[in-house]
Symmetry: C2
Subunit: 197 residues, 2 copies
DNA sequence: GTCTATACTGAGATAGAC
DNA sequence: GTCTATCTCAGTATAGAC
């Protein structure tokens, strides 16, 4: 059946979003999907490659949308730096839109980052996008040393990843959460450089 | 031997700091420590309880120090709110001091939070301390709604956890890293409330 | 090409001898 | 306290049915 693959992906997404990747066994997935154990290795090769495909399928369109919006903002800025609120908005809004249709996917993404999985996939699919956004942020923040800027990027990544996991009860929708995150992060980025460092 | 337990703890700390908890097997630990597999279950009961003890041993003094410093700052403030820079400083400095003596420990702590381990231990050992600090932060931030304040706490936790893991190469010492984190987070907390939310 | 049955290795956990 | 042997379950691999 052509949809054996689909059934596996759907079941895996559901389970991983809920319990995390490490806690989800292939035997749980095949039971939930109603397929045979070996079919996972036939269609994907390994547990990790299953996750890889799960992430890539949906991350690719999100990343395309991100770049599209950033390009638009860059054009509006006409050569000058894009305000960091807008850079962050371009990065987070496509994720929020994906979240309304596919709430599980965002949680899977959070899990991937938070469990430190798939460094190869992150590298390959996200690093180019991330680099574009980091470059855009940098233009708006010339007052920071290279080192301090890099650390603020790390703070941002940590806050974003933890927020996406959303283990705490969701009050309000994902859009509200992101609006608040943008306010918080923008202020953090705009803060004056740390004294004497 | 009385130090079988110690040898296990030391080997486990080393390995978990480097590879993470999930990636570290009990068989790796016993090989590195030069002890028998069953001795782990004799001394600790399970892999999880081993981690539990690993964390608790060092987290307890750090948490005591945190409260001590916060109490001092609160006394200095004489009933008024403690500036959030100082609250964050009271929370992070004892960790930084522990890091200079025991650099592995901080990474283990980061792993625990980032891998989502030991919710029970976090709850028991850290929640009381965290609640004190959250209360102290709240006093200095009356302009935020309860919901927005809670989210900013989440952003802070994410940024802290990711920073502690320090998977990126350490430029500068831990103290510098923390000074920068405080500047970033303080500005984020002080940002005006998100419009219309 | 697709799926089933079954076996292999390594994980954490446990019982019982010493 | 310590060690050996063993249990269950994980991810993985493959041979062979359709």
């Amino acid at each position: 059946m052509i949809d054996t693959k689909q059934k596996i992906l759907d079941a895996a997404e559901q389970l991983i979003a809920g319990q995390g990747y490490a806690a989800t066994s292939l035997r749980q997935i095949i039971t939930s999907a109603g397929v045979n154990l070996a079919s996972i290795h036939y269609h994907f090769g390994s547990k990790e490659e299953l996750l890889d495909e799960l992430v890539r399928r949906k991350a690719v369109p999100v990343n395309e949308k991100r770049l599209e919006i950033l390009d638009r903002y860059a054009a509006e800025a006409g050569g000058g730096p894009v305000p960091i609120e807008k850079v962050l908005d371009a990065f987070l809004t496509p994720m929020a839109e994906a979240a309304t249709r596919q709430p599980q996917f965002v949680r899977v993404m959070g899990r991937v980052i938070v469990e430190g999985l798939l460094p190869a996939v992150i590298q390959k699919n996200f690093q180019p996008v991330l680099n574009r956004f980091i470059g855009a942020l940098r233009e708006g923040l010339p007052h920071l040393s290279a080192s301090e800027f890099q650390w603020r990027i790390q703070f941002m990544i940590g806050a974003m990843a933890h927020t996406m996991c959303g283990t705490i009860e969701q009050d309000g929708d994902f859009g509200t959460r992101i609006a608040r995150l943008i306010v918080f992060l923008s202020a953090g980025f705009r803060a004056p450089a740390t004294e004497g460092k």
